[in-house]
Amino acid sequence: MASCRARVREMGSPPLTGRRLAFVLGKGGVGKTTVAAALALGMADAGHRTLLVEVAAEQRTGALFGVTPSLDDPVEVRPGLFALSVDAERATQEYLTIQLKVRPLVEMMARSRAFHQVTQAAPGLAELVTLGKIWDMATKVHDGAPVWDRLVVDAPATGHGIALLRAAGNARDLAGSGPIHDQAGAIEKVIRHPAATGIAVVARPEELAVTEAVEAVSTLREAGLPVACAVMNGVRRSSFSGDDAHALSAVASDPATGPAQRAAAEAALAIATGAAHDAREVDGLARESGLPVAVLPEVPDLSPGSGGLEALSAALLADPAIAGDHGA
């Protein structure tokens, strides 16, 4: 334990599982929602009271747990694991309620077309309010103890996700003064602190997804945002050795081989080739991002009760890139 602490201190910041606020970011189609759900499930299993926050309003978390997350109150989807869907419009109303303290005034604002146009015209205001809501939950205390031990945010696809994370900084820049300026500063402090917040960038072993992940990492770093690790999702594995592949190739290329035997040899070789390709992409992601990369296998069935999500969660939480050297 002592040596672990020393190592953690050496690296400057705790592993992702040691941070209260985790953001899961990635290109559309890489499995962000799945990774966020698996991460949150793992944190809850490790005994943390965990909130999984869905931002993209796609309500995909529901399909993974068989429960639809509520827009109002967190719903317990597994023991110790709660889910909530954050919607910018609703969060804006909530924010106004807190700020203005006068219900009719809030209702008038919410109905006002001009107000909606201001929120649209003020670049990043919707993101700021969303981020503010997340920050509020991450820092909420009840009876002297934090309400949530861990928050996992399933962020929108890369560009929009980065805009969300930069919202506080942008708002400080745009709003020269006033409550929004001050609050943005408070939010930014938490979002940028590598002991409190960590960003996991998800990719798949495909060129575009890896390129986009690497570019996202550098954009986030330039913005001073704490990137903790990368996750490569859907990585194919092979049990076939180089010697196996040699024998399989010989059989596959022999004209005397029957069609079923050839098909089997080719199917085995395709697995070996696919796994080698994916391993190269994992190496590339690690090299180009300079981040520890957690590797997740392909899981064909993620429906509730199939055990697919649980398997992913176990793989994720056992990975040193996510949990450090000592596991969760």
């Binding site: 189609g29 300026h181 049990s239 059989v251 089997a264 395709a270």
Partner: protein, 380 residues
């Protein structure tokens, strides 16, 4: 199932090909392969990519795809065994550069142009306003078609959360720039940091003063300035948006919807196709990319494989044959699942023209790989 149609042939003599679909289905590769096929048959083609497709760029022999078109060396294409009767240019969308040019074109004078380019709301616009990137993509398309340099422009659309955003973006953006209600309320604001300002409606005044209390005066000043600088320009924006909409709905255009053989992108592809059909946009075909084909052997077990592997020098031929048989069973199951998904798409859309592209082991890394995709899209 009927043999695949020749999608490249279907797209010949069109001026615009829009390639749309969910993220992660291989839209960029399909766009480039279609462009290659059209150029090969004699058209002057530009392909506009959205994602930083580095490997595609290097496959085409272009060091770095930029905002300006780069010509692909025809020798690279003929070397890959494809005839090259036309020309192929590639470029990558740069939303900010596109918008800056639009402002330069539409601004009445240099002072107005400078005022907009310096405005902080404007500088955040291309990343912060929903649909801005889609709007720029459509604008770039307009520029390229107008330039007269191309017979056909192939557009790889932005990976929107909802691929339908693409169609609504121009109008939404125009409405935003127009900002009718907001203009009325903000009125002319003079000088940064000024807190007192005229509002024309009492209710509106209330709203604005609350907003000002929350955001500070600076933001409202910036927004007001932004909208004022666009005065007299939004008609131009609006005209362009309708011109593009007209072009996209005309017979010069074809929409190609790309999906993978998986439920999530397929659901999006089906919704997109239906929306396009209902709004009478000209439909091309549905491309199902990365389909796993049925392995050989007609479903028979690979009996006797262990003996063959033993003869080929395998250390543990029985164990290896067992694992290979498992691999074959998995490949067959995957092919069956993909077939099922393809049939589900065809059924949901009443049999649209459909082209299947088999899963390659790797993304195309050279023109030869891209040409393979082109041939699949030609139904060969």
């Amino acid at each position: 199932m009927a043999p695949d149609p020749d999608l490249v042939g279907m797209l010949e003599h069109r001026r615009i090909v829009v390639v749309a679909g969910a993220g992660g289905v291989g839209k960029t590769t399909v766009s480039a392969a279609l462009a290659l096929g059209l150029a090969s048959r004699g058209a002057r083609v530009a392909v506009v990519t959205i994602d930083p497709a580095r490997r595609l760029a290097s496959a085409l022999g272009i060091a770095h795809l930029g905002d300006e078109p780069d010509r692909v060396d025809p020798a690279r294409i003929t070397a890959a065994g494809m005839p090259m009767e036309g020309t192929l240019d590639a470029l990558q969308l740069d939303p900010q550069a596109t918008f800056d040019r639009l402002v330069a074109r539409e601004a009445p004078d240099e002072a107005a142009r400078q005022r907009i380019l310096r405005n902080r709301v404007y500088r955040h616009l291309s990343t912060a306003v929903a649909g801005a990137q889609e709007f720029m993509a459509v604008e770039r398309l307009h520029e390229l078609v107008d330039s007269g340099r191309y017979d056909v422009v192939v557009l790889d659309t932005p990976p929107a959360r909802n691929a339908l955003d693409f169609l609504d973006a121009p109008e939404r953006m125009t409405r935003f720039v127009e900002g009718r209600g907001l203009r009325l309320l903000l009125g002319p604001r003079s000088g940064a940091g000024r807190t007192g300002w005229r509002a024309l409606q009492a209710g509106g005044h209330m709203v604005m003063s609350v907003v000002e209390r929350l955001t500070g005066a600076q933001l409202l000043t910036d927004i007001s300035e932004f909208l004022q600088s666009f005065d007299g320009m939004y008609q131009g924006f609006s005209d362009r948006a309708s011109a593009v909409r007209f072009l996209l709905a005309s017979d010069s255009t074809r929409f190609v919807v790309v999906t993978g053989p998986r439920p999530e992108p397929a659901t999006e592809a089906i919704a997109l196709w239906r929306r396009l059909r209902d709004d009478r946009y000209p439909l091309g075909a549905v491309v199902v990319n990365r389909v796993h084909l049925e392995p050989g052997g007609d479903g028979a077990p690979p009996d006797g494989l262990a003996d063959l592997l033993a003869a080929a020098g395998a250390a543990d031929p029985v164990g290896l044959a067992g694992r290979a048989a498992d691999a074959l069973a998995m490949a067959r199951a995957r092919a069956a699942a993909d077939r099922h998904e393809v049939q589900a798409i065809a059924g949901a859309l009443d049999g649209p023209p459909m082209v299947l592209v088999p899963a390659l082991e790797d993304d195309p890394v050279e023109v030869a790989g891209l040409a393979r995709v082109t041939r699949e899209l030609e139904g060969r």
